[in-house]
């Protein structure tokens, strides 16, 4: 059964230096509050997995939490580059960041295979792309039935997956609504999971086909209102597109970034 913890306690207990951590949320429901707590607790040497690294990983990479990134699209959507990510890849600041790069389709399949307990995912992918030349985790196999050449990638099996959702009920069942992304697969693929939620309610109000993570499939739940800001939680608040644009200026400069981090994560962040 999922255990209700404070965000501080959940991160402290379930994420250790050196862990492989997946924090998902496809544009929607990105677990920023959890990311900031990881920064405050100065976790180090993490292998971060995420399809779309987004600002939350730019902040964690810039704060020195990560040594490796597995991803498929690393930008600030609609705005441009993630400058902290680029600084770490191009100039090793604040530390060197290794990257392993996939396509979205391959990562989606890899998470799904992880959730299914399989060692690999198979897809009709990477035809004619140079990505297999720079990522030794992309192989090609022959279908034993048709002979078709197919791409194979190892499944994603994180030590910890962290996602944000709208609601949990008091038993710890979680409801995810709207763009549900890859969150369910990320949680089911991981050894441990932390789910932050906007609120804990008596009744989830889930429809018959809703995306629900049952309590027994989740390790820890932490209440974190506005925990996805500046991304959004459908039904609660909108995406702060203006901040996404503003981030470009903050992240371009190391000093400006560090001041932002101090002011917004260390000084004024947290519960």
């Amino acid at each position: 059964m999922a255990e209700f913890l404070s965000l501080k306690e959940a991160v402290s207990r379930h994420i250790s230096d050196g862990d492989t951590v997946a924090m998902e949320g496809f544009t929607h429901l990105i677990p920023f509050a959890a990311g900031h707590e990881i920064i405050r607790q100065k976790k180090r040497d993490l292998t971060l997995i995420r399809m779309t690294p987004d600002l939350v990983y730019d902040q964690m990479i810039g704060a020195g939490c990560a040594s490796k990134l597995i991803f498929s699209w690393g930008g600030n959507p609609g705005v441009g580059s993630l400058h902290r990510l680029r600084d770490a890849v191009e100039r090793g600041w604040p530390n060197k960041l290794d990257i392993l790069e996939h396509s979205h389709a391959a990562m989606a399949c890899a998470y799904e295979a992880g959730a299914a307990g399989l060692p690999l995912a198979v897809l009709r992918g990477y035809v004619g792309s140079d990505l297999p030349k720079v990522n030794d985790q992309i192989k090609f196999i022959e279908c034993p039935f048709t002979g078709e050449k197919l791409a194979a990638v190892p499944s994603v099996r994180p030590d910890v997956s962290v996602v944000h959702a709208q609601r949990a009920d008091r038993k710890g069942n979680v409801l995810v609504e709207g763009i549900i992304g890859i969150q369910k697969e990320a949680v089911l693929a991981a050894k441990r999971s932390i789910v932050t939620v906007e609120e804990v309610v008596d009744d989830l109000g889930a429809s018959a086909n809703a995306c629900v993570l049952p309590s027994w499939a989740v390790t820890a739940i932490a209440e974190a209102p506005k925990g996805a800001k500046p991304s959004y939680a459908l039904g609660y608040y909108d995406r702060d597109n203006a901040f996404y644009k503003e981030w470009d200026g903050i992240a371009r400069d190391r000093d400006v970034f560090q001041k932002w981090l101090n002011d917004n994560v260390f000084e004024n962040g947290g519960a």
Partner: protein
């Protein structure tokens, strides 16, 4: 008297016209999204737009800044998970057109959105492939829209993120279960299509007022022109009005959100 319009507007309107009502289009963010929604708001009200965040048959009132803005989900017929989107809907063969933008494109319509320079020591690190590598091979055909410049239109891309026809034009030959690949490239200067035999991109239509020299000057290889070179029809007053309205409310929406 002809209307006043910019080359960007010419590009968006021309790209929008490539879509028809019966198409199911997997839409990339940016220029493709602008064109696809313009098509939906003008001549193709029933075109099916799909974004990789999982939104099926979406009808946003403003253009999304990101691939997963709330607007896309709230106006969609339904929203599915990302693995379902890529595995069932795209790989399953239900997408007729993949509509993509790019940072670099070469003469065989290969796209580079990964980096400029060497992979391990990039001059410029770009965001990466995202959904494009498989959109380009699993959609039945691919439309590309991108601004025309020598920096973008290079003879050989630095990195093939997303295959057009490969570095020799033959990457799709004898590959089973693969789409036709890029069938049209629409820029702010012209329309290009692959030569049926060699697959090299050839200019088939110049936008009004654009000269061959301008295209030659903006292209990083010895660009060829079709024997029967057309002139692209100008945007109509209605198309310009709808496009300008769409952009104005999009800008107001993204600037005003706090």
């Amino acid at each position: 008297m002809s209307l006043e319009f910019t080359s960007s507007e010419m590009m968006s309107v021309t790209a929008a016209r490539a879509l028809t009502n019966d198409m199911t289009c997997f839409v990339g963010i940016g220029l493709p999204s602008e064109a696809a929604n313009l098509a939906r708001l003008t001549h193709a009200p029933d075109v099916t737009l799909i974004y990789e965040s999982g939104t099926l048959q979406t009808k946003p009132d403003v253009l999304p800044l990101s691939i997963g803005d709330g607007e896309l989900c709230e106006s969609a017929l339904t929203t599915v998970s990302v693995p379902e989107m890529f595995r069932y809907w795209l790989q399953g063969g239900h997408i007729s057109v993949g509509f993509l933008g790019t940072a670099q494109i070469d003469r065989y319509a290969n796209l580079n959105t990964t980096l400029i320079g060497d992979y391990r020591e990039p001059k410029v690190r770009l965001p990466g492939g995202g959904g494009a590598p498989e959109i380009a091979t699993n959609a039945h055909e691919v439309f590309i829209t991108v601004k025309h410049s020598k920096r973008t239109f290079v003879k050989d891309v630095d990195f093939v993120t997303t295959v057009g026809f490969g570095r020799d034009g033959k990457a799709r030959d004898n590959v089973p279960n693969i789409g036709r690949g890029p069938t049209v490239v629409i820029t702010d200067l012209c329309i290009l299509k692959p030569d049926p035999q060699t697959k090299e991109l050839v200019v088939t239509s110049l936008h009004p007022g654009v000269t061959r020299e301008q295209v030659i000057e903006a292209t990083g290889w010895e660009i060829r022109f079709a024997d029967e070179l057309a002139t692209t029809p100008e945007p109509s007053a209605k198309e310009l009005e709808v496009l300008r309205d769409l952009k104005a409310r999009t800008n107001a929406h993204h600037a005003g959100q706090q």
